[in-house]
């Protein structure tokens, strides 16, 4: 019996010939990540165990992205703690201020993850880096402390589920629509504990940005990781980003899968996940009656260049509807600068949008766009749980950037074709 890409990466990092689903292994890690919310707990534990140093100061990453620029005194104190720790232990990859972006957009962009890596992060969307052909998964702060000190992590080898994606992408349909469709199909626990592997001609045709979006939301189906084989596009993306050694793994033809799904992307339209679960998925065209108060285009799911490009294409020469706030959040400073250079800022400002500095902000109801009781938002983020963006009686609809931008213009959920 052959092995899947996930099994191969884990076997290599556990110095084993072969691993099997269900087996518990201790693997070497290439990177341990924490943010301004999860790192404080990790550092408390670090002090408790009396560790003298981190296992490798090049391989520990702190990104202060959630409640920054600091929203209140408590969050400022937390950031201060992490900053002082980073200085003391000379952590190479400490990001804040003008260097800081949303962690899962920032790490790949800065070349911190390479194909074949094992990455753990105290953030559930750490699964994003699977787009590069790496094994990456989210866990809690205590696990990250263990990783920071020992350079290792205990893991249960997951079963794998394969999604073969065929067909041609219709205009305005992207990675977000595909992953929402999949979560709608299998449910928020449909891939519980499993690796979600994506392949097929439609995946080869897909941009890296869209692949990040798909891998990012694996956790929304309960998945342990999402993974893609690194191909020419991955190699082109990695060009000049990292000096670290990378390794491309590929699943064997006789590898074992818990389930195999085939999806023709040509049959998909723009998708929207209704409150309060990411699996509550409908076609955008069925929701044209739903009025909205706020639009958020950003996050680790859809705050990349391709997303801003789609939003700019739709918002060009248009106006955001009266009484609607449209908040655009480029995910990293590099994306911010590039969007500005391309003239998107002018488009957004002319349309009446707000441009936010890179931050998680409203995605988790932190700041920069929190909802009042009874308000409704459409967002390109990844979760629409009760109270996720603010008041427990506010609502979040999830969509891709094209639907979100079209909805900003109409003041209700809208399809891109209605406005361009």
């Amino acid at each position: 019996m052959g092995m899947t890409i996930t099994e191969k990466i884990l076997a290599a990092h556990a110095d084993k010939e072969k691993v099997e689903p269900g087996e518990i292994i201790e693997a070497r890690i290439d990177l341990a990540l924490a943010n301004d919310i999860t790192a404080p707990l990790s550092l408390e534990e670090f002090d408790k165990v009396g560790a003298k140093e981190v296992f490798d100061k090049e391989k520990v990453v702190f990104v202060l992205d959630h409640f920054t620029p600091n929203k209140d005194i408590l969050s400022a104190e937390n950031c201060k703690k992490i900053r002082e720790f980073s200085k003391k232990y000379r952590i190479t990859h400490f990001y804040e201020g003008g260097q800081c972006g949303i962690e899962h957009a920032l790490l790949p962009e800065q070349g911190l993850v390479v194909p074949g890596d094992v990455v753990i992060g105290a953030d559930s969307h750490t699964c994003t880096y699977g787009a590069l052909g790496a094994f990456s998964t989210g866990m809690g702060s205590t696990d990250i402390t263990y990783g920071m000190v020992t350079g290792r992590v205990w893991l249960k080898v997951p079963e794998s589920i394969k999604f073969i994606c065929t067909g041609k992408w219709p205009k305005w349909v992207t990675g977000k629509d595909l992953i929402l469709h999949i979560i709608g199909m299998i449910g928020v626990d449909g891939a519980l504990y499993a690796a979600m592997e994506f392949e097929g001609e439609a995946i080869s045709a897909l941009s890296m940005d869209s692949r990040f979006t798909i891998a990012n939301m694996a956790i929304e189906a309960g998945g342990k990781n999402g993974i893609f084989k690194a191909d020419e596009k991955t190699i082109a993306y990695m060009e000049g980003r990292s000096k670290r050694h990378s390794k491309i793994y590929e699943s064997d033809p006789d590898a074992n899968y818990r389930e195999v799904y085939t999806i023709d992307v040509g049959t998909l339209g723009p998708k929207v996940a209704c409150p309060s679960l990411p699996s509550n998925v409908k076609g955008a065209e069925e929701l044209k009656e739903i009025a909205i108060d706020q639009v958020v285009i950003g996050s680790c799911t859809n705050g990349r260049m391709e997303d801003l490009e789609a939003a700019a294409e739709i918002l060009k020469g248009q106006k955001v509807a009266p009484y609607v706030r449209c908040i655009i959040i480029p995910a990293t400073p590099t994306i911010y600068g590039e969007a500005m250079k391309r003239g998107y800022f002018e488009t957004f400002l002319d349309a009446g949008c707000i441009i936010s500095p890179p931050t998680c902000g409203p995605c988790l109801g932190g700041h920069m766009g929190v909802l009042a009781k009874g308000e409704r938002a459409i967002a390109t983020t990844n979760r629409n749980f009760i109270g996720r963006m603010g008041h427990p009686e506010s609502e979040v609809y999830l969509a891709g950037p094209a639907v979100a931008a079209a909805s900003a213009i109409k003041g209700r959920i809208a399809c891109p074709e209605e406005v361009v």
């Binding site: 953030d123 866990m139 809690g140 626990d189 519980l192 929190v370 996720r388 427990p392």
Partner: protein
């Protein structure tokens, strides 16, 4: 070890934004986190719950973010145990790492809210009014971790050796 406690029933997919909303995540004090546990759907829960009480969940309990604040908030209220039909994987890890006990069993249709049940943690046998149910065994590695006193103690020992 046996625990006895009053049950609090919650449904399927109780996510971490329900267990502890993100706006409280700048706090690390367990007491403060406990005060806001389940606030979006059961604001009175932290006031009414008593030490030793047991949470009963449905499918996919603890789905969502990796915030360890979630098991910390539950444990801070003195909840002795969470029994659910299934758990989201990060929550499962975090709970054991933090010393909050979890058992997998489907009690949603069997117990009534407020009913007292008895659970033998070592055998996984749950005794409620209507029936006796055996929970899915806890993986051997987790048992070892719990016996070591959680991941941090395990690490401490390792560093001392």
């Amino acid at each position: 070890m046996k625990v006895r406690g009053k049950t609090w029933k919650f449904g399927d997919n109780i996510d971490t934004d329900i267990i502890i909303p993100a706006r409280y995540l700048a706090h690390t004090d367990p007491k403060v986190l406990g005060e806001h546990c389940m606030e979006p759907i059961a604001p009175l829960f932290p006031k009414q719950v008593q030490k030793g009480d047991i949470i009963i969940g449905g499918l996919n309990f603890g789905c969502g973010s990796s915030r360890e604040h979630a098991p910390i908030a539950i444990a801070a209220l003195g909840i002795s145990l969470v029994i659910a039909k299934s758990f989201a994987r990060i929550f499962y890890r975090n709970a054991f790492n933090k010393g909050l006990a979890l058992l997998e069993a489907d009690l949603t249709g069997l117990v009534e809210e407020g009913e007292e049940i008895e659970v033998d943690l070592s055998s996984g046998i749950i005794t409620c009014k209507k029936a006796e149910v055996t929970a899915k065994p806890i993986p051997a590695f987790m048992v070892e971790l719990v016996n070591e006193g959680g991941l941090i103690n395990y690490l401490k020992k390792k560093l001392e050796d």
